[in-house]
């Protein structure tokens, strides 16, 4: 039902007009589709991209590896070096081929050294690494480190030298003893071109620890101050019997590559290895008019923003405004805690009032003042429906004359939006919890009644839709907080109110008791309402997206990309 579900990785390639026609033929006539609107909306072959959707492509790890290999082959062929060497150089320069070529032409040796391929001082017998001052040049990092020993004014020389030599005995009586584990039963040793020899088991422990614990793919030699970096063939040799770590190492290489490419983003969901390519959303200008919400090919639930670090759908609001709003919420988290509590002060007599039910129409026990729990405003101004209170009454802040009441008004204004934002978030959680219970009941009904599995899916669809729309609603409050007052904002809030009302109605339907006698009617009602809610959501998303494209939205604060 979500527009995002429509993107499976195969579908993406078919977004051209010819395919559109074919798809329509496959599905059947338009009137047929209307007969079963839910199925229509779920149809994965429906290729039309909506105005609030961006063009993107999902790539598997394998796909990304192909891109990497192409770059490595390219560098390998023009420099005439091994693939592994080209790979290290590219990783060192963050996959910037042009810059690498330039630097390599300028000073190939410097590039080879910086990429950990060769050492400044190539004396292989320098087993007691850390003694050569020349090898410290690459260490731009700071802090008291190994090298600081060398610059110590009066180090207790005798002790230090002796001890370090004791601990790194490369060969004792012709027999190799690994200077790390001192296990003389180890027979297999490995070393890179620096000839720092260690037993295979220590190398394995070291590489495994780097890859698994530190998520590090840039692995330097174990010897102290040795700047050589392990090329792929070496890692592969060390991990010959440890496929899991080798796989993880390759995943880290892909992550590094993806991190260096502005048009690629790694799926932020845990243990997912997919990447999304979204070239249209790279520029700052595009981010001021579109919200690049993408879904990776692994799961429709892996939805994230390509333009910022929000790991969920923040449509309809653009990244810059979403970021400001989240920052504002963080900064005011103390105030937010107050809002979440169940007690408030009566705005007339300041006595404490506790909320113990779901209804928002409150009456102060002491002074009989009637007000709305959500906005604390007088109930009389709310008319018959509390949904009117999605709109913040700006009169109060205009009237505020002195600094104190101005600051109070600005806090109240923020709380108006925050309260609703938090309310939808809370309701989302409650819906999920509630649905878990409903689902169980539905499963039972499947057994006891003649309803099929397909027929009981309407609840799941409705809950998914409610959650999706509450997400939209949350962000509309984040957006409205920053929208300049005027006709445009009012229209925005009309759409917001209509969606909110529809969502609340659907929520109520979902929460109504289910039993086999009413299930058919309920199914019809829920299905119809779900379709309606979905339409209202699309209206909000579409109109807001259009507004961004024709620069209709005006902000009450400076927004990145707007002057």
């Amino acid at each position: 039902m979500s527009s995002n579900d429509e993107y499976s990785d195969e579908d993406i390639e078919y977004y051209d007009e010819d395919e559109d026609m074919e798809d329509i033929d496959d599905v059947g006539s338009a009137s047929e589709m209307e007969l079963d609107p839910l199925n229509d909306l779920n149809d994965p072959t429906r290729p039309q991209r909506k105005i609030f959707e961006v063009e993107y492509e999902s790539l598997s790890q394998n796909d990304v590896e192909k891109l990497m290999r192409a770059d490595i082959e390219y560098i390998s062929s023009i420099f005439g070096v091994e693939m592994d060497t080209a790979s290290l150089m590219l990783r060192w320069i963050n996959w910037n081929k042009e810059k690498l070529i330039e630097k390599y032409m300028d000073n190939a040796n410097a590039v080879l050294m910086a990429s950990g391929i060769t050492q400044a001082d190539k004396a292989p017998e320098r087993a007691h690494a850390g003694r050569s001052p020349s090898s410290s040049a690459h260490q731009s990092s700071i802090g008291p480190r190994r090298s600081s020993r060398r610059i110590a004014p009066e180090p207790p020389k005798s002790g230090k030298t002796k001890i370090l030599e004791r601990l790194t005995p490369p060969i004792e009586d012709g027999k190799f003893i690994c200077p790390i584990c001192f296990d003389d039963t180890q027979t297999e040793t490995l070393n890179m071109t620096c000839f720092h020899k260690f037993c295979k088991s220590c190398w394995h422990a070291y590489v495994e620890s780097k890859v698994r614990t530190e998520a590090e793919s840039w692995i330097s030699c174990m010897a102290e101050d040795c700047s050589l970096v392990a090329p792929d063939y070496f890692i592969e040799g060390v991990l010959k019997e440890d496929k899991a770590t080798w796989d993880r190492f390759q995943e880290l290489l892909v992550r590094h590559f993806v991190g260096a490419m502005p048009n690629l983003k790694y799926c932020p969901y845990p243990s997912c290895t997919y990447t999304v390519s979204c070239p249209v959303s790279v520029s700052k200008t595009s981010l001021s008019s579109t919200v690049p919400i993408v879904t990776c090919g692994a799961s429709a639930a892996h939805k994230f923003c390509f333009g910022c670090h929000v790991d969920s759908d923040h449509r309809p609001v653009i990244c810059a405004v979403a970021k400001m709003w989240l920052q504002k919420c963080r900064d005011d988290s103390e105030t937010a805690n107050w809002i979440k509590s169940n007690t408030k002060e009566c705005s007339k007599c300041q006595s404490t009032i506790e909320k113990n039910g779901g209804c928002n129409h409150m009456t102060c026990k002491k002074c009989k003042y009637e007000f709305c729990w959500v906005c604390m405003g007088p109930w009389s101004e709310h008319g018959t429906s509390w949904y009117n209170c999605n709109r913040y009454d700006e009169k109060a802040s205009v009237d505020a004359r002195d600094a104190q009441s101005r600051s109070r008004a600005s806090l109240e204004r923020y709380l108006h939006y925050y309260n609703r934002w938090a309310n939808h978030e809370q309701s989302k959680k409650l819906s999920v919890e509630l649905y878990a219970k409903t689902e169980k009941k539905m499963e039972e009904m499947q057994i006891t009644s003649e309803l099929s599995w397909i027929e009981v899916q309407f609840m799941k669809k409705a809950v998914d839709e409610v959650i999706k729309c509450r997400t939209t609603l949350m962000w509309t409050y984040g957006m409205a907080y920053y929208l300049e007052r005027g006709n445009e904002k009012e229209l925005f809030e009309d759409n917001q109110r209509d969606l909110e009302r529809a969502v609340e109605e659907l929520s109520e339907l979902i929460e109504s008791p289910i039993d086999p006698e009413v299930i058919k009617t309920l199914r019809q009602k829920v299905t119809d309402k779900t379709v309606y809610v979905q339409k209202r959501n699309e209206i909000v998303l579409e109109d807001t997206a259009k507004g961004f494209m024709d620069r209709r939205w005006k902000w009450n604060v400076p927004v990145e990309g707007y002057d």
Binding site: G143, P144, P156, R166, L167, I180, C181, Y206, S209, M222
Partner: protein, 152 residues
Amino acid sequence: MSVSTRRLQKELTDIQKQGTPVGIKLLNADDFQTWHLSLEVLGDTVYQGEVFALKFRFDSSYPISSPAVQFVVDDTWKAPVHPHVYSNGHICASILGNEWSPVLSVISVCVTLQSMLASCKKKELPPGNDRYVKNAPENPKKTRFEYHDDNV
């Protein structure tokens, strides 16, 4: 025998046979989990006459990953006042973090810290000491230090 035990056994035998560098003494090494060593900076330094105690904690990943090292702070011992040593004894030193090498040892860590103290010209607490100490994890290895400048 595990690698860490064998390795620590070897380091201990070496210390017992060949002694420790000047200014460094083994206080106790009763097991292969925790060792204590005392540290003194010799010569003309800002820490003249002061003795400090270092606590080393090892897990089974030693020496592949670094030991947890900190200055002891209790009724007997105080941490040195140094721009890379927090008042709770935690040390911001890259040798204990990203520049750790498995060929380093307990003694080489002591020697490095000794020279870190020896080269200090002015006793100063690290910037943000109070905030760090307030929020610091018990084990300094859980802290991700940004390594500060080396010019102290």
